[in-house]
Homo-oligomer: 513 residues x 2
């Protein structure tokens, strides 16, 4: 109760006051934009995250990512899960995928999305996703950082892909996680199409033609507006509104791009054809540049509206670039994230290492590069720290660690720290490193353990970014130590593992073999 | 598109499991539906709330209200403010209008809606409405009971009219007050039109033609669906969804009906023409019956879905029936709420006494009638008590008192209690009891004090429901006592009063004259 507030009879309130509780301090908290791209590989940009420029850096044109990097800090070892839902659920909960158990992608209620194996049974994972309330089986209950931002006075905007919970479960709606505005987000993890000519997946009568039809963009149907652009225009309108509210805002700009289907963004397609790319690869490049233009438009909005100095922009992708099929790409399989091995769905670097940039005027030194590692669940405490929220009580245990010290260059929080992945699932496509596995990264070492075969691979990542040299046989003590640590973490977090169909027995933990 | 969709393995899972966290108790909390009608008078129904049947009870047909009353308790002295925003802000905050200061209707930011007076200056009231956060001038900050329901695991649905905050202020959006679904609610307090032929106020290009254009009903444009029906269909879809979430739900079914414009609901219009009503009055009656059908459809949904026994239904209106203009009605002015005097906007009973019914299976004795009084801010603690939420910490001081004891017939909480109204504003229409005033009701007595003239009127309400006999001159001691109590309350709650333009001095409080 706060009666004192009620005695403010004739107070000419200069705007942007933060008067929660008993304090009457101006609200100078930063706006925060998380610009999350879908299925974007580490090399799908003209901005080199590797030590060398690659042919991909030459091919793609992402001038706004370059500009953002000039204004902020690039992270060369930013990790996520190799699949969308695990990453996005870690983002929202602050929990490692081993703990939240949403270890494959979600869509239909009570329906696993795993491919069928003759030998392995996947565990009873949380195929219904995350939710904010109890009441639904196979769901992980958590309070999102977005809810905490909202509860602390942030205006919260969701634009684009959500993909946190199955259809007809509470986790399907961004509104249930603290978002106050939702543009086009729902249960599905990809778009039926980016094309307004196809009404983003709705027929002429306005009926959805697919579970992946993108809702809420009716006004752009038939207008020739590529969906990336439609989302951007809607996001800018939401920012206009946010400015009027005199609240700090959180914009989750979560593009459906560059997830398949790889439709042509005709604004950019011809340019890449002229560069000599195939139809498929030119379309892919056009999807990337359309996304980059959106980033530029948002940065322009910040400048024009006087919010640039007080807005943190975080750029990130949710998993590696698509590298396992010939339907959408012409490049040789598994090479599209070079120098990283394989891509989306793989335990190798191509599946999990992401392009990440953070721009934070006055705090992050422009044009800097951080080679320390971090992982997607770190975003939860980091964003809350950016917003000045350090006192919160949530039902889940937070695994993430704030990377703000890396931004401020006050402390290397990755040194001596272990990162963990757990994927007891069978994703639908095949390729190197795809299949049930768990992984640990500690300092230079990365060990992958494959549940089915019991095989362990060990890589010295900084010196073998390409993961060409498995040195497991050379370092049995390292293997032993990492196996113990990984096994301990998985058990501590109630991680899951597959079992053998033949015997019904669970696959061994990494430290049991 | 995700190819692995083709390889889905189907897992039948029993639903309604609580599998996480520390508690595993079934959630048996009741669903709650607040069915709020706009501008509906006490007599706009076939259900007699007075001791006698009137011609209005004969004229209108509201079979579903009758059914609801058979199943629950009718309240014959349920009060609200005489204008929409004050009532709705009291509902959401639990505060008396004197405290929240949203004492006239809201629409544009920083814009008073008061009529101009040559003699009085209205105070600097909260014309920007209520909000959940600081940052906007002339706004009352509160945490709504809906937010508390949501925070406690209720799924919260808004359908229809909101009208809590001005355009471009945080209070404009139901999502900012804890609603997780919003159908057609925004800043405006009325509809441009109920007609789908006019796209509810949008032109053919989809552009809004009025600040009162009703958003979010695009799919009904041009379909011949009267808006009351469109809202009902959307509400039922939201209930279907709510059932899947396995959460208790709160549905705020807040009809735009029967606010002007009094469009014909052709499903019912002819029937009333055949009864001999004029075009205007037949249209008015059709608006009422369309609203009543919506109530019936929702009650049917409860039955069909097995939720009837566990759902509380509260029927209420937000202020008196429209009685001050000839543009929309043919009845003689000020008579339409007979036996109550005047209507919407007036301090007399016609402005503030509402038709109210509560159906609560197992708790409320069916077919009962409660003659004790209550007021709109009582809904806040009452609904929270119904939901079992008794421990909450909110920034505002709650003036309301739970009416659950009246429902349970365990205690008459109105005996000896005073109800208060404060309206230092000048509503746009003229009529008896309309103008800056404050009012107190205590036991049988009701005293109205008019700020401009200093006049006081006193009525013995149960014995003079029509307010024909002002007995102020006969009971100076009662006047004195009530004036003191009213003045004290207004000052304690930081109430506002108009001032005289000539002198710049405030009008006296009721106990200063």
């Amino acid at each position: 109760m706060n009666k004192s507030l009620l005695t403010l009879s004739l107070i000419p309130i200069a705007s942007v006051m933060h008067t929660y509780g008993t304090s009457h301090v101006p609200d100078n908290r930063p706006n925060i934009i998380l610009f999350l791209v879908d299925d974007m590989g580490w090399q799908d940009t003209s901005l080199p995250f590797w030590t060398q420029r690659t042919m991909y850096n030459e091919r793609y044109e992402t001038p706004n990512m370059e500009k953002l990097a000039q204004q902020g800090m690039m992270f060369t070892q930013a990790y996520a899960s190799s699949i969308s839902s695990p990453t996005r659920c870690s983002l929202m909960t602050g929990c490692n995928a081993s703990r939240h158990r949403v270890t494959n992608w979600t869509l239909r209620k009570n329906t696993k999305t795993d491919a069928v194996s003759n030998t392995l049974e996947v565990p009873d994972w949380n195929y219904n996703g995350i939710a904010q309330v109890h009441g639904t089986n196979n769901t992980f209950i958590a309070t999102s950082f977005v809810q905490l931002l909202k509860d602390n006075g942030y205006h919260t905007i969701h634009c684009g892909k959500a993909h946190w919970g199955a259809i007809d479960t509470p986790g399907e709606s961004p509104y249930h996680f603290g978002f106050e505005t939702n543009i086009a987000g729902h249960a599905a993890g990809g778009p039926a199409t980016y094309l307004s000519e196809r009404n983003y997946g709705y027929d002429e009568a306005g009926n959805s033609t697919s579970l992946f039809s993108v809702p809420g963009l009716e006004k752009y149907w038939g207008t020739g507006t590529f969906m990336t652009e439609a989302l951007t225009q809607e996001a800018l309108k939401a920012l206009d509104k946010a400015k009027k509210y005199n609240q700090p805002f959180y914009l989750y700009m979560s593009h459906y791009a560059i997830h398949v289907p790889i439709d042509k963004d005709v604004r950019f397609y011809d340019k890449y054809k002229k560069k000599g790319l195939s139809d498929k690869e030119a379309a892919y490049a056009s999807l990337i540049e359309g996304m980059d233009k959106s980033l530029g438009d948002i940065m322009d909005w910040l400048e024009k509206n006087g919010e640039a100095d007080n807005t943190i922009v975080i750029f990130m992708s949710d998993n590696g670039g698509y590298a396992t099929g010939s339907g959408w790409r012409d490049e040789p399989l598994y090479t599209q994230n070079f120098p990283l091995k394989c891509g989306k769905g793989s335990a190798y670097e191509g599946g999990i290492r992401e392009p990440m940039i953070v721009r934070w005027p006055g705090t992050v030194q422009p044009g800097t590069r951080c080679n320390d590692y971090l992982i997607i669940e770190d975003f939860y405490p980091s964003i809350l720290e950016m917003a000045g929220i350090d006192d919160y009580d949530v039902p889940q245990e937070i695994d993430g660690i704030s990377f703000v010290p890396l931004l401020k260059q006050t402390k290397n929080h990755s040194q001596g720290r272990s990162l963990y992945w757990n994927c007891p699932n069978i994703w639908g496509e095949k390729g190197p490193g795809i299949g049930p596995s768990c992984t640990i990264r500690k300092d230079n070492w990365k060990m992958i353990y494959f549940y089915e075969t019991g095989e362990k691979e060990l890589y010295d990542i900084p010196n073998d970014t390409e993961e060409n040299n498995n040195v497991a046989a050379l370092y049995p003590q390292i293997i032993n130590k990492l196996s113990k640590e990984l096994g301990k973490f998985l058990r501590q977090t109630n991680g899951q593992r597959p079992s053998f169909k033949k015997t019904g027995k669970p696959c061994p933990w990494p430290d049991e073999i």
